[in-house]
């Protein structure tokens, strides 16, 4: 069974905490420790950002993290090596968040072969909408890797189609715009999630702009879990190789507040 599906089954209604770090920021050794520490402190699934030179869906925080990682010489092959190492110590679901060109250039077949071999459970590709998902769908299915679909508040009549075919979990983008912290949301969540609920058959989680434990608690009330990225990457940016403990503490406060 795919680890993502198993995790949501095991959670049995408990809200999922999905955390994100950019792989290789500040280096892959720290990334490994961050993953294990986040798991220890209550993260249920983890997204590893694969750095890209031109990440058009990201705000400044993750843009800068990608640049730091690229300057450090991170490559996709090295990230697969990291996943292989992590799999000796953890069974937490791991997803790669990345841009389609990285997969295309690497070779779709080779990419999913390595996902399956090393223990990647899913991929999130923000610049691959429903219309183009066949670019990866066949290979992803053959290797049992979940290709995560996204819906946004601007999706409206597209939601039913996207949610109906989604797998793993449905990634609900909280608001228009790029990734990064937001002090408030303008989205009408009752309407947005009301629409999603009508057609979704799998767990659905919300991300983009959620950075405080209080926001995480509030947003998780609408769905099955929350995704926190830039809020964590900011701590990594500030503390670098000393970020493991503070990221762990932050993860724990997110999870504990969500349980309240």
């Amino acid at each position: 069974m795919n680890r993502i599906d198993k995790k949501f089954a095991d959670l049995n209604g408990e809200k999922a905490l999905i955390t994100f770090v950019t792989a290789g920021d500040p280096d892959l050794g720290v990334t490994k420790r961050l993953v294990l520490e986040m798991e220890k402190n209550g993260a249920d699934l983890i997204e590893l950002g694969v750095p890209f030179s031109d990440p058009i869906a990201e705000g400044p925080t993750i843009q800068k993290a990608s640049l730091r990682a690229l300057k450090g010489g991170v490559t996709l092959v090295k990230i697969f090596d990291l996943v292989r190492e992590l799999r000796r110590e953890t069974e937490i679901p791991l997803l790669l968040m990345m841009y389609v060109n990285t997969i295309f250039r690497f070779g779709t077949e080779r990419f999913f072969t390595l996902c399956a071999e090393t223990g990647v459970d899913g991929v999130i590709v923000p610049d691959l909408p429903y219309e183009e998902k066949d670019e990866l769908a066949d290979a992803a299915h053959r290797f049992g890797i979940r290709q995560i679909s996204l819906v946004a508040p601007t999706s409206h009549d597209r939601i039913a189609r996207i949610a109906g075919e989604a797998e793993g979990f449905l990634y609900c983008v909280s608001s228009t715009g790029v990734t990064g912290t937001r002090s408030e949301f303008k989205t009408n969540f009752d309407e947005f999630f009301g629409e999603i609920k009508k057609s979704v058959k799998i767990p659905y989680c919300v991300g983009f702009g959620i950075s405080s434990p209080e926001q995480a608690r509030k947003m998780s009330s609408y769905c099955d879990g929350v995704i926190v990225g830039s809020g964590i990457v900011k701590i990594v940016e500030r503390f670098g190789s000393d970020s493991v403990a503070p990221v762990g503490e932050f993860t724990a406060s997110l999870k504990n507040t969500m349980k309240q």
């Binding site: 890209f52 030179s53 031109d54 058009i56 869906a57 705000g59 843009q63 690229l70 490559t75 996709l76 841009y99 389609v100 060109n101 990285t102 997969i103 295309f104 250039r105 690497f106 923000p126 610049d127 691959l128 909408p129 429903y130 219309e131 183009e132 066949d134 670019e135 996204l150 819906v151 946004a152 508040p153 601007t154 999706s155 409206h156 597209r158 996207i162 983008v173 228009t176 715009g177 790029v178």
Partner: protein
């Protein structure tokens, strides 16, 4: 692979979900209006009375005599209002934006010509306008930045990456994702997600259609070659499109080779690129083994882009169009040559096409005809070329 908006296997719609409905709405609006009589009458009126179309086809007699080969004609897009072909596309898209009820226009710009054209049209239509421009380009095209401000537009400097056209597009896409309900993204070239490549080409195809009619009237026949510079490739697609079905007409795109294609400093996508997916489209890009997009370079801010429109990638793959590379030095020489020979200062972008023609013309018989798309005028480039030649014009 989806079938939507494809040129062979190139094209497509590789953009975030947040903008997909906007892309679909645009596609619907474009398909509704593209054959609408009133829409086209209004566009033709703007072309004629505001942009000064049709642009003239000029026989470059001295240049022809000097090079001693094929007859050379210049398609004078440099004489359009705002000084380049960019206005053709901008007027079409802003009319569409108005029909769609959008109130805010954003655009990216490299050399500033598309930014100036967009700011101009936004002023004409009374719309708010924000232009994204790489900081490096703002420095080398300070005159155009001032022109945009004069026209009431806000120019936002982009510092990420190489601070050039690619980075300006990234930032415009981020703005679009954020302000999707009110904002129309007026893309300046035959690139991005469907329907942009097709739509921008259609708003530019008047270049080739007029060329055919004007040459037919003058010479009673088709040209043997059409040459245009290629960054994203909008003036080239506009110049080529009407001739694609005429196998006797060679279609030649001139790419920016910067310091040379065997150095790391160039922007020659077709010479050195590989297939990839970026900026909403599957096409050819300059990128490394890992799929990271290269930092590119050209003296010309308008050609300083690591990709090319998908229809060009397709025309290259079928062999219908050829792509040649022109270095900074060759472009500057052509810039000076056309100024002295014909009294026409070309845009440094268009000078790449002039340079390619200067190489080709002497190899052709005197009864052959070359048309160069002179996509823009060169006033904006005088400072840059002076600097290249070691002349300091600053006060």
């Amino acid at each position: 692979m989806s079938k939507i908006g494809r040129f062979g296997e190139y094209g497509g719609q590789y953009v975030p979900e947040t903008v997909m409905n906007a892309v679909n709405e645009l596609n619907e609006a474009y398909n509704k209006y593209k054959d609408d009589a009133d829409f086209n009458a209004e566009l033709q009126r703007l072309y004629r009375e505001y942009a000064n179309r049709p642009s003239m086809l000029y026989f470059a007699e001295k240049m022809t005599a000097d090079l001693g080969g094929a007859k050379i004609y210049l398609k004078r897009e440099d004489l359009n209002h705002t000084g380049a072909h960019k206005i053709n596309n901008v007027l079409g898209q802003i009319l569409l934006a108005k029909k769609m009820g959008k109130t805010r226009i954003i655009a990216e710009t490299g050399a500033g010509q598309h930014g100036v054209a967009t700011a101009t049209a936004a002023a004409l239509f009374g719309m708010e306008c924000n232009v994204y421009m790489g900081r490096t380009d703002m420095e080398r095209q300070a005159l155009n930045v001032y022109r945009m401000n004069l026209l009431g537009a806000t120019v936002t400097g982009v510092d990420s990456g190489t601070a050039t056209l690619k980075d300006a597009i990234n930032e415009a896409m981020r703005d679009w994702t954020t302000n999707i309900e009110t904002t129309y993204y007026l893309i300046g070239s035959v690139m991005g997600p469907h329907p942009y490549p097709e739509m921008v080409r259609n708003f530019q195809k008047c270049i080739g259609e007029e060329t055919r009619a004007q040459l037919m009237q003058r010479e009673g026949r088709l040209p043997d070659a059409v040459i245009a510079c290629v960054g994203g490739g909008s003036n080239a697609m506009g110049a080529f499109y009407d001739f694609i079905g005429e196998p006797s007409v060679r279609l030649i795109g001139a790419e920016a080779a910067g310091d040379g294609i065997d150095t790391p400093r160039h922007a020659a996508t077709m010479a050195k690129g590989s297939m990839g997916i970026f900026h909403g489209m599957k096409s050819v890009f300059l990128q490394n083994e890992e799929g990271q997009i290269d930092e590119v370079y050209s003296i010309s801010a308008g050609l300083d882009y690591p990709g090319i429109g998908p229809e060009h990638a397709y025309l290259a793959s079928t062999g219908r169009a050829e792509y040649v590379d022109v270095t900074d030095e060759e472009a500057v020489q052509a810039f000076e040559y056309l100024s002295k020979t014909e009294g026409i200062i070309p845009a440094i972008e268009s000078a790449h096409a002039v340079a390619a023609a200067m190489k080709l013309a002497p190899t052709m018989d005197r009864d052959k005809i070359i048309v160069i798309c002179l996509s823009g005028r060169g006033d904006k480039d005088v400072f840059q070329v002076a600097r290249y030649r070691g002349v300091d014009l600053s006060e």
